[in-house]
Symmetry: D2
Subunit: 379 residues, 4 copies
């Protein structure tokens, strides 16, 4: 029997009201593992070190992910060229290798493969619909040579570019999800989230939402605004969220790239598994049914999503065999004070110390967001 | 030619004045990847999921590690039994599988394999030299069936138990390193670091130092006290350090297990790669030549050690092909403020924000260390 | 010559475009000096310890205040009765004594006396316009027996009650200023600041603004919204601000009384003189010309306002004879590192440490403001 | 009856085992009130603005102080000359006016007057015993023209200079207390606290201890070391403490003048009244019976000392009539969450937020204390 035939598609699952758990962030985690170069963040590791990509796919699958995204971030020809990271490898080679890796691992479980495209340098440079669409078309064609289940447009901060991507990808006949990396203040041209969502759905997107750039609860807020926009316009779409795995209370328009810690000192902002429980519940309560993560989401964060929605899904992920719910595995610890931590209340209420008394708790974003915001508010 | 024959041993390297880069922490990283259960932290993944262990070994090797430690933490028979984590697997099976994995990856580079033993529940329970030594002997015999280069005794907080372990392992004829998980205040019975070092060297340890429990700079301080103790006693040994990858300014006797964040909310205490540069330099300046990490040290932290001592070693590790030194890869970033971060001064002086304004920066350790310390100081 | 005749009134000054410096907070400062009881905060010290009230008036005058407010906070009969703080003293006695003290000190300089009324328990209890107005009328009559220059309605969190107060006080023929203790989110019934300002001006207020409850920059923001509301309505009034002298980034609707530190652990939130410089400039730039302070504003904070607007006013206050501008008096210090602080850049850019590593930097307000706000935003 | 005759002297009180409550800090509080110039901190206000000094004396008396210190800080001729703060006033005039003010207020209660001398610029400049002693002699002669009860040598950071001062003042026949501004690490030449105490007692000091420079609990630690030194030497003396009213966890040798916040941004380090309760109890438990404060101690801090030791003294201070113990006066507050604060547990356990999320919680002292300390520890 063909595994493809029996797979239930992304829309079948979402239409049935199921919670779909997404996977976590690849580029930042693989940077820390030694396979991705920060700066241009291109995914040549899919060709150069497939074992490393495969292993991370597996960890997300094991953590409960229903979707394995192809490791094709920034894998448009124009971006690869600018990056200077690869010389003997083509974008097509990476895209194809990435599809194979994702498929291989997805088939080890009940997961779908999403072919992913992200924003192109071409958009800001040329602002040409034809040129940008040609780039997306080329990448789509690579994907269509392989066995992928649906598409995701992600990490786009101008809704216009995302609309173009959706229009291209819809020609494949496959479902398309689209996530913008925007704040509650809107996209880089100030288009509010509600209006962004309307444009994406009108362009054909089946699933809309946000990814990256800001922390989980802020992203939930943005998706709520998207939802409200769709409702007001009488439109319907599934909602999706894959936020940053870092606390960003500064919540600026430019997102985490504007924070002084980006990209090499974000450790102290990292979210815990308990933050994830809260996030997953908030996302669920907001009506979002495709819940995953982006940069900073490691396998155990994805497992925490799966554990939070275990009742709704009816099962725990494989990796929970190595995890006591809410710290239960500490019950047998030799120290009494550690045993006392084997309970939900403890972890839910803990305010973890940074261990860095000379560091502040909030930073000033580089793009001076506050002034921008103030200007808007006054108008 | 046999790869074993041409390998230069750990003492050859250290005697030649080389800097030996250790690997990072396995149990906590594999917990996050979904393969180790927090609480008892046993290493059955070596049998259950060898691909996951192999991949992490590879990442450390690629990051510059000269030593691959067998993934045999807490792999004594008595600990495995207490843990309840394994039923169909014996300690011998894990030890042997772990040796094979370490060997396989070490041979992919110029690395040595260290067979590792850690503290036993038996010591605190029985306090019987015979029983404890029998346990270490059994684990050593497992290792000796395989091709390992030397032994490391690690994560022992009573110097007496470490001495017993060293005495057993020295019967193998192989070099032995011994690292205690103690603070500058001494071991759990208050034996000062200097005296601990003397006992270990007298028992036969070739390399002595500390691992785990406290942050890098605190551990450097402890090793300095060990060195001073050895010098005062007219003894000589190589020095070794594999600290925690978390900031622990509270520096209590019990170490990080006493912190409220242990083990599931330590994220915000995580050290950056720039903290590592400072640590590696301080360790080097203190005369320590075996420099690695323990819990919290991910591959990129090991790479940062290797990059800091690149001049002394004469080469960069493989993973540096995906890393610009001191942020150099940000030079081409599209945002001017991110480009401005492509320099050493920026990262050296950055005080990273936690993004958690409702959290404190220091915690109160559970074991009320301050009162203990005060008592000592007053005496 | 009668001192009264030659005094230029508050409106004369504001109409002429002068900057009027207000005084600081009485109740909280006199609580710390031992004369006011926290909780009901009534001003019986005007009768019981006139020397203490006189001295604080003098310090504010010396710091540059153009207005001395009568120490009559919460001095309505209904509030005094509830408080239980006084038994042998009537409200009339306090009001009259307070007027005399204010007058005496104001006459030592070129200052005006403002008779002050604040919110009444009666309003929330009875919601009766007649009853509330009768209370204000009674207090006004006390004031009118004495030589006061104008009235201030302050610390009212329902605009309706403030409107009633203004209507009563306007019957005196004297100028009336009205400051609400509200946030940018509006009054306790959600009436937005702009609308509040319009209602107050329509009721006859000559000067409108905010006082207390939130920190200086937040209060500037609220007054800006008031100004915008007036402009939109085609109304004109002078603007006034007397904010809290504490940092309240949580900016909740209930203000500082909802913060866990209120009222006995606010020290660590106290603003510095340098914060004041920034505040005074922002207030001035926003078009506010009556600039003072409320709880937490000590004499040196008022001096800092006067120093910031010295160029605009054309003179420094008397207390500046004991103050080097921007730290200039440190130039002769014996320690070189203290001498290095004798300059504006140093103090403007300093991020002062709290010295409290176990404390957070932000708290959760008791009134769960966030949920309230979220509800509003979504609507 | 002459008030002088019936006064029980400082030694009578201490010998009887009574707790003597000291007063708080004058120069920093009067700087904030507008009467003292930061930098040289000279006390000419005793002549220029006696009403301001008198009022602060009264507030401390009212708060429970048993001793009113003359406002004669840095009032040696050499310091006044360097300061440039006074031209038409002599040191003798200030000393005499200050004695009169202290006497006047002390007589309003059951308080003693202490004539105070502090370190001289001459000591560091000349290192001449004769010259320094001549300066102290001159100041003592001013005091002896007036009615003072005993002497206090304070704010001296070289024990040698303090010894010289004690030797001079003892010639008066009056009791002498001596407090150094040192850390647990010892005086500026590294003389440990225990040895300092021995030298002072041998020179004739009846009471020894520390004042200023570091926070209350650190100062208690230093006085404990003094006590231990005296006990070891078989000497006896009363113990005294008047610490800084600011948190200084950095605890460096140079004290708070080395902190970046000194002297104009210390607000956020200010201690609360609840910190004082803990401090007063710790001091009492350490056997210290003269308990007061220095810079940063306002009247309500002194009241908190008096309230903490009310049981031992048998009475509350006058200012407690305006203070509910442990927040009791909040019981009648209109907000339920504020009423919930009317209890000891609330305030004892509160970790107050700074309201400054961009600020760190600890600073790096300017004198790079850590390196100094490390050097000492290693030796």
């Amino acid at each position: 029997m063909d595994s493809k035939e029996k797979r239930r598609g992304i829309l079948e699952r979402l239409n049935a009201g199921e919670v779909v758990v997404g996977d976590g962030g690849y580029v930042m985690q693989l940077e820390r593992r030694g396979y991705v170069k920060a700066g241009h963040w291109t995914p040549e590791a899919a060709v150069e070190h497939p074992e490393a990509v495969r292993q991370l796919h597996r960890e997300f699958l094991r953590a409960g992910a229903n979707v394995i995204q192809t490791f094709t971030f920034y894998c448009s020809e124009d971006k690869l060229e600018i990056s200077g990271n690869v010389t003997n490898i083509t974008g097509a080679q990476i895209n194809e290798a990435a599809c194979d890796l994702a498929r291989e691992v997805a088939n080890e479980g009940d997961a779908l493969v999403a072919g992913c495209v992200s924003k192109t340098p071409c958009y800001v440079k040329s602002h040409s619909e034809n040129e940008v669409k040609a780039i997306f078309k080329k990448q789509m064609d690579d994907f269509l040579k392989k066995d992928i289940d649906f598409f995701i447009v992600e990490f786009v901060d101008h809704v216009e570019e995302a609309v173009w991507a959706v229009e291209v990808l819809k020609t494949s006949g496959k479902p398309v999800g689209a996530t913008l990396c925007i704040s509650p203040h809107g996209d880089m041209h100030g288009v509010p989230p509600g209006q962004c969502a309307v444009s994406l759905v009108k362009a054909g997107a089946d699933i809309v939402g946000v990814n990256c750039h800001l922390d989980p609860l802020t992203c939930v807020q943005t998706v709520k605004l998207m939802k409200a926009g769709l409702e007001k316009a009488g439109l319907k779409a599934h909602l999706m969220i894959q936020p940053l795995g870092f606390h960003t209370p500064e919540c600026n328009i430019g997102g985490y790239t504007s924070l002084p810690e980006y990209p090499f000192a974000l450790e102290t902002r990292a979210i815990t598994r308990w933050d994830i429980h809260k996030y997953a519940r908030e996302a669920y309560n907001a009506g979002i049914r495709y819940i995953g993560g982006c940069c900073g989401f490691e396998p155990y964060h994805i497992r925490a999503i799966a554990e939070e929605v275990a009742a709704e899904r009816g099962f725990l992920p494989p990796a929970s065999e190595k995890h006591g719910l809410w710290g239960a595995a500490l019950e047998m610890h030799t120290k009494p004070w550690v045993r006392a931590r084997a309970r939900r209340e403890y972890w839910e209420n803990l305010l973890p110390a940074s261990g860095r008394p000379k560091c502040p708790s909030m930073a000033t974003p580089a793009d001076d967001y506050e002034k921008q915001l103030e200007t808007k508010i006054q108008m």
